[in-house]
């Protein structure tokens, strides 16, 4: 337990801790514990338990298939429409869960922040990890649907983790901004559900982004456009084909969000305990 060499720690106003990232690594187990706590507690005292992670996407899937596939009769290429929707819904739900968990994470852990030191970044990071669990559950739904339509994805499926990463980067970037802002301005609590509602329609969840040929580049400024297109490309045998320029734009936006989010978070992190 004793440190190999006695670390000298200087506490001073405005002095960013030099070994912040080292501390973050040292506290990695805490990250795991916090995520584990949230997962354990999540479905306590519920009857259906983890089934809730399936019910919501299943219902959304049915509604979107009906509205976009049947009512609006949008084209799906040569894949069953529900599969097209589910491959959009998967990354979107991952984003939505990770983003909203991260946004509320600091305020939800007020009691920790005002009583114990640890790199505050642990809190939003662990809440993002929790979102991955629900995501894994929905993957089961995808497997069931693929089996139903006897749809077998090809080699591209191995690239899916890249797009999971893109989704998480976008969610963490926006989540960091909002959680840090919410510490000071509780207004942003109301912004989160609103952003998610608008985002659901501004992202190609219920339809394919190929329906917007002329707008696709501008559309790709929404990082979730790249993520959802990528998911479909990976899981639906390269359909619709990947547009590398648009993917680069989406990925760039996600990175900008993450880096600026980290920057802002680090700026205000030192005052969290005083104002939370």
């Amino acid at each position: 337990m004793s440190a190999p060499d006695t670390p000298e720690l200087v506490l001073e106003a405005g002095r960013a801790s030099r070994n912040y990232w080292g501390d973050l690594w040292r506290f990695r187990e805490l990250l795991g514990f916090l995520a584990w706590r949230d997962i354990k507690v999540r479905y306590k005292q519920t009857v259906l338990g983890v089934l809730w992670a399936l019910i919501q996407p299943a219902v959304t899937l049915a509604v979107f298939t009906f509205v976009f596939g049947k009512l609006a009769a949008m084209p799906a290429g040569n894949v069953p429409y529900p599969l097209l929707v589910l491959c959009g819904l998967l990354p979107w739900q991952l984003f939505a869960a990770a983003f909203s968990n991260a946004s509320g994470s600091l305020v939800a852990n007020t009691h920790l922040i005002s009583k114990v030191y640890f790199p505050r970044l642990i809190v939003p990071l662990s809440s993002v990890a929790v979102a991955l669990i629900d995501f894994a559950v929905v993957l089961v739904l995808l497997a069931v649907l693929c089996a139903w339509w006897q749809f077998v994805p090809d080699w591209r499926i191995v690239l899916t983790p890249l797009f999971i990463l893109l989704t998480l980067v976008a969610a963490l970037g926006t989540g960091l901004w909002l959680t840090a802002l919410t510490v000071k301005y509780r207004d942003f609590r109301f912004v989160v559900p609103f952003l998610l509602q608008v985002g659901l329609f501004l992202s190609p969840v219920g339809f394919s982004s190929t329906n917007l040929p002329n707008w696709r580049t501008l559309y790709s400024l929404n990082p979730m456009v790249g993520a959802i297109d990528g998911f479909r490309w990976c899981l639906l045998r390269g359909e619709p084909p990947l547009d590398l320029l648009n993917l680069a734009i989406s990925s760039g936006m996600a990175l900008v969000l993450l880096i600026s989010g980290l920057w802002y978070f680090r700026q205000v992190e030192r005052t969290f305990a005083d104002i939370i």
């Binding site: 006695t6 805490l30 514990f33 706590r37 114990v116 030191y117």
Partner: protein, 401 residues
Amino acid sequence: MSQPVIEVSTVGKRYYLSHQQRSDTLRDSIAQTVRGLFGGASQGNREEFWALRDVSFSVNQGDVVGIIGRNGAGKSTLLKILSRITEPTTGRAVIRGRVASLLEVGTGFHPELSGRENIFLNGAILGMSRAEITRKFDEIVAFAEVERFLDTQVKHYSSGMYVRLAFAVAAHLEPEILVVDEVLAVGDAQFQKKCLGKMSEVARDSGRTVLFVSHNTGALQAICRSALWLQQGRVMRAGPMAECLPAYLASGNEAATYAPTNADRPHLTSVALDRTALATGRFRLSVGFKSPFPLNPPVIGIVLQSRHGQPLAGSNGRMMGDRWTPPPLREGVITAEIPMLPLHSDTYRASVYLGDATQDYDQKLDAVEFDYISPNFYPQTPPLHVIGQLDLPWQWTVDSR
């Protein structure tokens, strides 16, 4: 080796007290910024408050330092700075060694999780590694005496069990520097004793450095060799506990004086508690008054209250009827004494009243607050919310049949 493990120089911590308006919503913040742009005083409704000011001291390895001071003296703020929860506004602190801080018992306990799960969670939050917790798991459980309830959700625990488990986890931390806020004020007496024992063991045997805040003078004397006395955010005195503690307890002898709110009416002018006498169990409160006409007779009323303001005992001259025979007076000091204050050690308050034979003229509610350390030492006092504050001269008789 000769370098101190904690070096604090001219540390200050400023908070803003906002009045009337809080700027915690975006709208307020924008409104203030806009007002600022147009030359309005955006700082107008904020008041600076220095919780700590120019605090300097150093602690050597193996020192066990008790931090003493009244409520609001800045003790907790100092601990928060040293445990990196908040940063100082001015000055700097250098810490050489790993710090673990215990500002609250059971930080991060989750009511829905079992005792077993909470040990791991709480341990991780306090900075222990999983391997370390696993290694000490049995020891922690034994210390907390909760073996049977390990897999019960913590929300079903009694408050005593909860506190025991929480302290047990914290007690098994092994940092080089341990920072502990008033956490021993919880739990039953037997467990408190156990905690104190553990604390002194930690301090004495392992050469660890401990900073310890407490109002429990017995604990301070038992555990700490040196003291840091804070008053209103500044260091009053630092040195051996044996010197600082009596000085601290006797401090505040100087009378509180009051400017008249209305000089045309009889009013209270001062209240002085003799804290030197109090240290020996003698309660002595002197109350000054002044009146535009002779009070016949002058009557002072005193009500002793618990720390929460609940009245415990009160008296005044009027109650005594014919036996209260001072001459009519325009000005004077009336002193009330209780030779042996029949109260247990705790924080108390007193309110004072001024009147004459028929009516009351002035009052000072919560005029003084004091920590009373009873000279009667009971090794095992149950919590005061169970037995009450009164320490009456009980006499027991036992018949064997």
